[in-house]
């Protein structure tokens, strides 16, 4: 999970630098990253979506790194944070992808990369359910 979360931090960080104007050209390939980034949905509750991504993936990264330490592998609080954060990231990314398809009519490949990362994180977080139920640590943190 830590590796995937790090990829998420890097992708979101790249988009955040664009949003802040530090990067003026996105390496977007055949996508329409600028259009997606200029849409009203690029800001959620007043917060730029890439900033939410950096914070969310950062939380998963730090929690996963703590969770692989000896003595923490069966920590139910760690399992709860990882599962909840990964589920939120998965749902939020799904909603953003739906917006790209239905409302914005443009695809940003970095956003799709982030959505794929969130999906991987969610799948990797599912074994945390066993930890929450008091089982042994078998997750892929």
């Amino acid at each position: 999970m830590a590796l995937a979360a790090l990829a998420g931090v890097l992708i979101s960080g790249y988009m955040l630098l664009y949003k802040l104007g530090i990067i003026t050209v996105l390496a977007c390939g055949t996508g329409s990253c600028e259009i997606v980034q200029a849409s009203p949905w690029a800001v959620f509750l007043g917060i730029p979506v890439p900033l939410l991504g950096v914070a969310g993936y950062g939380l998963i990264l730090v929690t996963a790194l703590i969770g692989i330490q000896p003595g923490r592998t069966a920590d139910r609080r760690i399992a709860l944070i990882l599962l909840a954060a990964a589920a939120f990231a998965f749902g939020f990314s799904g909603w953003l992808s739906w917006l790209e398809a239905v409302r914005i009519h443009a695809w940003c490949r970095w956003c799709l990369g982030s959505a794929a990362t969130a999906t991987v994180l969610f799948l990797l977080a599912l074994p945390e359910i066993a930890v929450l139920r008091g089982g042994r640590m078998v997750s892929q943190r």
Partner: protein
Amino acid sequence: MAKKGKAKGTARGRTQTPNLRLFYGLLALVGVVGIGWIGFSVANQSSANAAIAPIQLTGINTDSLLKQARGVNSGKPEASAQVIVFSDFTCPVCMNYVAMIEPQIRTEFVKTNRIRYTHYDFPLGGEPHRYGFIAARAARCAEDQNAFWEYHDVLFGRQNEWAYAREVPLDIFTDYAGRLNMDKDAFDACLRSDRFADVVTANRVLGERLGVGATPTIFIGGRSYNWSDYDAIKAAIEAELGDTTSQ
């Protein structure tokens, strides 16, 4: 992923298993490569402060959009017959339209002051249209010096020279301004700022609201027409003129 390498005793320092250390090494490698790539992207930008992509428009409703969106007119300003074209300077089809169809409209209807002919920006974005937005801004900077249409023709005529350039073609655009005897310094200052980013963005949004899905899209009397069918375009214009003269 890292859990497979179980730690024994404390996890600090040398008591970590080789697998866990290997994982940390891999994590660090990914981090360094990722940050390095982002740093390289930042360092290799030549566009300085030039706005090259649509911006966030505040309070987008129909009224505010119509105030921010602005076409560039030629022909008779008060003419009741109007041809509106949404186009992207990087679009090869638009280049064909400008080379083959637009000259006929200009000759027959614009230069004779029978219609108002209006250009609206519709930067497509993404590859291979990544420079459509900055090109639209460049044309607006030319408009500042009353040279929009001349610059428009140069941009389309030399599209292959700049549209696929490796770097943002700011220097090329400024060079074109010089060739058209414009004030290069004023043009360059305009280009390397965010001037007209709002107008170009608003034009794009306006096009989306009007159902523009491709470029060029030509509106005459509220209907869109196939860009390549000059006979249909001409008939539509004449119908508009006929309607207006009969009123």
